[in-house]
């Protein structure tokens, strides 16, 4: 009898504690289950509405224009075409059948933030302003307009490898394409800095010494 009364009191006591906790949990779980809007929702709204600006500006160079500036395969590395889109071309660098890096050229016309990041550049590769992006990317800007980028796809493909492969791309040839005509402030190769010396190139292409 006593034990039954005790257990009833125990149950009543814990019910007083548990019910509010349980109710709070239910409220919390239902609040969390309403999914947060994606961090890309604003961009989605802006770029999917009628008359949204084109993703690539009309005057951008065709990706096919860039093909001739990419290097051929070299000993131990196979260079394979991957994408050729409006204002963009991309090649894969494979070693032993495994993708180790990606080479790309894109026209920054209509995508100005890609070019303006070079304004804070403090170094050059082959005379062109260069930036590091994240932990896998090295880029240079040619003619204040064409971004040339090498992205590592394998940890063994180092920052120095990226700088070397950027110079295997015919930057001097690329610089003969039309320069930027936008009102963006021109990105100058930093002069106060001693130009970074990139590793010597075994390939046929030599770095541009006097980029224009």
């Amino acid at each position: 009898m006593i034990s039954a009364r005790l257990s009833t009191r125990f149950f009543t006591h814990w019910r007083k504690v548990f019910v509010p906790i349980l109710l709070s949990l239910v409220v919390l779980v239902s609040a969390c289950s309403q999914s947060e809007p994606s961090q890309f929702a604003k961009t989605q709204e802006e770029t999917s509405k009628r008359n949204a600006p084109a993703a690539v500006a009309k005057g951008a160079e065709q990706g096919s224009t860039f093909n001739k500036f990419f290097p051929d395969s070299v000993s131990g590395y196979e260079v394979v075409p991957a994408q050729e889109k409006n204002g963009f071309a991309e090649y894969k660098v494979n070693k032993g059948g495994k993708n180790v890096a990606v080479l790309s050229i894109n026209d920054t016309v209509g995508n100005p933030t890609a070019a303006t990041k070079f304004q804070s550049s403090t170094a050059t590769i082959a005379g062109y302003p260069t930036v590091e992006q994240g932990t896998t990317g090295t880029a240079v800007l040619v003619n204040n307009r064409y971004q040339v980028k090498v992205l590592s796809r394998d940890p063994a493909f180092s920052k120095a490898d990226r700088a070397a492969w950027i110079q295997k791309i015919n930057l001097r040839g690329l610089a003969k394409l039309p320069a930027a005509t936008s009102s963006l402030p021109k990105v100058q190769a930093p002069k106060a800095q001693v130009p970074k010396t990139a590793p010597a190139l075994p390939g046929k292409l030599q770095p541009a010494l006097n980029p224009t």
């Binding site: 961009t43 990706g63 994408q83």
Partner: protein, 296 residues
């Protein structure tokens, strides 16, 4: 074409169910090549190796922008992947109806309204292969009829793209048509008239994006594409010692199928396994992200 955001497509890919199980059952064919990568931000990190939230945001924003521009071809590619799955599912329903028609005399009339399963499956296989080619061109920006470029790229296929081709060979080739599916498919398509093609459900679904101008030209393009890719498929089968039995044995470890009703398996897979759409979204996200990280 859908106005759904690319991140919605990638975030809502299934993590289980028939399609995922069926694809997992093919891991022995291309070991370790396919993981079911789900989630847009997770895909950005997997493709680029970057984890910095600000960089992920920049890459994602660019990918969303590129996808939403209809001139860039990504939405057309997704439409192709989705439509060919939906249309071949309808073909599965027709094939099953035909089967029922053979078993039950009351429904015998149905067999006059639906193509013979083998012919229908052969067309399905050929059209799906051409969809892969056209979607590849749309995504990678290569002119839409570049069979040569596609063949070169096929040698370099990996990950979810190679899984899609493995599923095509196994689920749309070996299971419904047997070990000599490629020769069988080619002989069927070569013996067809443009009007046979016009009546095919799968072709009707995607015909507006198949190069060739009219049905005769499209039949020519499909035949040429299939003939050119036959060598790759034959080599894929022989190098991996693929047989219908081995495919079915592995599939039965993941999906509850009855081995005494294998006649129904091809139609069943057509209706319930949407592997083109599933791996197509993964391929599309992969390529978009590759381009975006390069362009920002």
């Amino acid at each position: 074409m859908s106005d759904k955001a690319i991140y919605d497509h990638v975030d809502h890919l299934p993590t289980g169910g028939m399609t995922v199980m069926a694809l997992k059952s093919l891991d022995w064919v291309i070991p370790g090549q396919w993981q079911n990568l789900v989630g847009f931000e997770k895909t950005i990190t997997a493709v680029t190796g970057e984890t910095d939230p600000a960089l992920i945001k920049q890459i994602g924003d660019r990918a969303v922008t590129l996808y939403n521009d209809k001139h860039e071809g990504y939405q057309r590619a997704l439409w192709l992947y989705q439509t060919v799955d939906a249309a071949s599912g309808a073909l599965g329903a027709a094939a099953l109806a035909n089967k029922v028609g053979q078993d039950i005399s009351f429904l015998g009339i149905l067999k006059n309204l639906t193509p013979k399963p083998e012919k229908a499956q052969s067309i399905d296989l050929c059209v799906k292969l051409v969809v892969e080619l056209v979607a590849f061109c749309q995504i990678n920006g290569i002119p839409g009829d570049s069979i040569g470029d596609f063949l070169s790229a096929l040698k370099d296929y990996g990950g979810e793209s190679l899984m899609r081709m493995a599923a095509l060979v196994c689920f749309d080739g070996l299971i419904p048509l047997g070990p000599d599916f490629a020769s069988k498919g080619l002989s069927v398509i070569k013996g067809m008239s443009p009007s046979d093609l016009e009546h095919n459900q799968t072709f009707k679904g995607v015909r507006e994006l198949i190069p060739g101008g009219n049905s005769a030209g499209q039949l020519g393009f499909i035949t040429e594409s299939f003939e050119s890719t036959k060598g790759w498929m034959d080599n894929f089968v022989s190098s991996k010692a693929l047989t219908p039995d081995r495919v079915v044995d592995n599939l039965s470890k993941f999906v509850d199928i009855s081995k005494d009703k294998l006649d129904y398996l091809g139609a069943f897979l057509d209706m319930y396994v949407k592997y083109y759409q599933h791996t197509g979204i993964q391929t599309l996200a992969h390529r978009l992200i590759e381009r975006s990280v390069a362009e920002i």
